[in-house]
Amino acid sequence: MKRVYGVAIKMVLASLALVFVAGGAGADVYVQCPGDTDGDGVIDDFTDPELLAHPNAVCMHITGGDGFINMADTTVTGGARGRQLYMFGFADVTGVPPLDVIDEGTTAAWYPGPLIELDEGDEFYLSLTNVGMARRPDLDDPHTVHWHGYADASPAFDGLPDVSISIHMGGTLTYYYQANEPGTYMYHCHVEATEHMQMGMLANLYVNAAQNDLPDGTNLNGFIHHTGYEYAYNDGDGSTYYDVDFPLQLSSMDPEFHDASESTQPLPFALMNDTYAMLNGRGYPETVNTAELANTENGVVSQRENALVEANVGDKVLLRISNLSITEYFTLMSPQIPMRIVGTGARELRGTGGADLSYLTNSVNLGGGEAFDAILDTADVAPGTYFIYTSNLNFLSNNTEERGGIMTEIHINP
């Protein structure tokens, strides 16, 4: 590992400079990653002894800060993008030289934050640099990452500020996790959780099962595994096999809260009323737009994920569904193609004695912090377009715009 210090010259923001003066220390973007020689979070020396000691190391460098996104209500704005919202969020700066991280990360947060996809057995070195909230120089909030659902978590890496440590502006905290349990999780900042999560500090996270890596031809209780086969869990019988998988994270925002934050007004906690409901950070129809979207404030490409589900007839489609709304229970409905729920809470739906607890359904209900793994079998589905949407029909809208919200399409190709 190489330690690289940022320099004060890079600090163009008065807010950051103030804190550094107060703290009596310089900026310290310090990424810990075995085999990374230049501090950018990318492994480049494969002979590094520390990497050899941690051969399953996977590194990522993200920022916590602020930025802008646009909602999908373009019929209201009459423009290419809908209503602009100020937000807090994470962004991926893996590969960015440490001296450039603060610059690149300033007012450049994403919604949702960077997708984290790991393989079971990975040693995950996740560095979080707090780049500050440039549009709110009065704030000096720290940030954390809470890997929601991590088994046998230790407080040091659980991201709960009350019981742990959180990182100041200009500093970097590297979290270390062994990815032990496959499944669908989520992550979010846990500092001032009501505010930072309402503002957008949340993202998808899932872990691929080790069963994917079995030798070709392995017999799983009568199911023959072949190289390239993938499973939601280490099921031992191929019951969670899938051809394609898609994370679908439900979330929602209260535009009045975001506007109050942007204009440094008292935050309406008690009156919180989320009216934009989203999948992977977008309301319909932007959920099916596969382009990465730039915001109207500073052109930062801040909405990179979409929610379009594409498969071929006969595919088994795994939906990794999670909810990080802080106000709403949602029912997610797949009205034409039933879903087999094979997992909840990043665990296969099996009893303690191995009983099959999976079930076929057209809907799942999930509150904040819940996750489901749903497999759609398209063997008997005709090619065409199908829908997934919330049956909380009041959320099929983008604030005042009808025909939006939590809806996406499943495109089944011949």
Binding site: Y30, Y125, D152, L160, G171, Y176, Q178, A270, G369
Partner: protein, 433 residues
């Protein structure tokens, strides 16, 4: 409201605001006995009175409420936790000091016999306003976690606080049900409620409350909103809210969570630290073969949807294994102290003597939580800047258990608070109160 103060320090300041020194809190948290048992009232005959009272919320607000009182004591939020044994013939006598008819219904209890009712309420026979009395008798046939609540003018009376927990213990010790698969070392109650203070204010003023626009602004576990949930049972400054919600255990122990949805809204209850496994719902074991398989049909999850009227029993256990580093901070030659697996080089959980693969940032880059011991290792204390930490004198691992509808982590307009408490995994040998 946003300020520069971090969450943990606000917790501390909240404690100070209500006059509790940190040391006093620490004193309350260090106990004597080896096992946590749910606080409540045992026996088979219970005398409850429905009466007025005031509860205190985590932001210092005082709110008028109606509650069930035990033996003429103060109205309680929640009502007294009634703890009985399987097969007991239970008699509950209700006296009504309120100005409207009140009653009790016992969901999940069969053949409740009501005697002396003054009138028939919507869901139960009633005690008349201002002095009426009614008696309910039932046989507690099935072990499990249940609730009781008013069956009269229910939308208002549940909001006002007329609900409590009923625990029916099986004949076997330290089990939730008659199956050994439900054995536990520690048990805790998580009784989830919420309230809209505007309704309470209207009732206190003698006005007709508007129940159609109810919007909860306070969220409680065991009748308290955070951070009051952290305080011990029976603290004198919360006379109407006698039950704390701080939970403790040791590594590898089984914790029985008895979770009750007692309000009018759903709550997604999230357990930091590890998944739980459901063993029962509404007092019925989750079993594939009734009477034979044990509680083998419950799901594992990290968030539990608790709907109004439901109860869940779940087992939670933190083992601290397979982290890739030694949670005790041992050097390779040090003796082992936890599970055998931690010290067995053949085990996949063999972490003994492994250092943390990353360096924690220097202090000037960090905000410290009040419950951070200063050390990442279980049972250890580390150096902290003056005035930081201080609420974790045994070096325990703290996990927040909370509503994952984070709007419910507020007391009215103030974050943090609401439906949250802590589960503490203490180092082996640290006594559990």
């Amino acid at each position: 409201m946003k300020t520069a103060t971090d969450t943990a320090l606000r917790h501390v300041s909240a404690l100070r605001r209500i006059g509790i020194s940190i040391l006093m809190l620490a004193g309350l948290l260090i106990g004597g006995t080896a096992q946590a048992v749910i606080t409540g009232t045992t026996g088979v005959n219970f005398n409850l009175t429905a009466k007025e009272g005031y509860v205190s919320m985590g932001d210092g607000a005082t709110i008028y409420m109606w509650g069930y009182a035990l033996n003429g004591g103060p109205a309680q939020l929640p009502g007294p936790t009634l703890i009985v044994n399987e097969g007991d013939v239970v008699t509950v006598t209700l006296t009504n000091d309120l100005a409207e008819a009140v009653s009790i219904t016992f969901p999940g209890q069969a053949d409740v016999v009501t005697t002396g009712a003054d009138s028939q309420g919507y869901l139960a026979g009633e005690a008349a306003a201002s002095g009426g009395e009614v008696t309910y008798t039932f046989t507690a046939s099935n072990p499990g976690t249940y609730q009781y609540h008013s069956g009269s003018n229910v939308a208002l009376q549940i909001e006002m606080g007329l609900a409590g927990a009923l625990v029916v213990r099986p004949n076997a010790m330290n089990q939730a049900y008659d199956s050994p698969s439900t054995a536990f070392h520690q048990e805790y109650l998580f009784f989830l409620q919420e309230m809209d203070p505007h309704i309470h204010t209207a009732v206190e003023a003698g006005e007709t409350p508007d129940l159609t626009n109810r919007q909860a602004q306070y969220w409680m576990i065991n009748g308290r909103s955070g951070p009051d949930t952290f305080f011990a049972d029976g603290v004198p400054w919360l006379p109407n809210q006698p039950y704390g919600a701080m939970a403790r255990t040791h590594p590898n122990e089984k914790v029985l969570m008895r979770v009750v949805g007692a309000g009018l809204d759903l709550h997604p209850f999230h357990t930091h630290g590890q998944n739980f496994r459901v063993i029962a719902r509404d007092g019925r074991m989750r079993e594939t073969i009734p009477g034979l398989s044990g509680a083998d049909a419950g799901i594992s999850d990290f968030t539990l949807t608790v709907a109004p009227g439901q109860t869940y029993d779940a087992i939670w256990s933190w083992e601290g294994k397979n982290l890739g580093w030694d949670i005790f901070g041992h050097a390779p030659g040090d003796p082992c102290e936890a599970s055998a697996e931690e010290c067995d080089p053949a085990s996949p959980y063999y972490d003994h003597g492994k250092p943390i693969p990353v360096t924690l940032p220097e202090q000037q880059f960090l905000t410290f939580g009040g419950f951070w011991s200063g050390s990442p290792f279980l049972g250890q204390e580390g150096a902290l800047p003056p005035g930081e930490g201080g609420l974790n004198l045994d070096g325990g691992f703290f996990y927040m258990w909370h509503s994952h509808a984070e709007e419910e982590l507020c007391n009215y307009d103030i974050f943090p608070g609401g439906m949250m408490t802590m589960m503490i995994v203490e180092a082996p040998g640290v006594p559990i109160p």
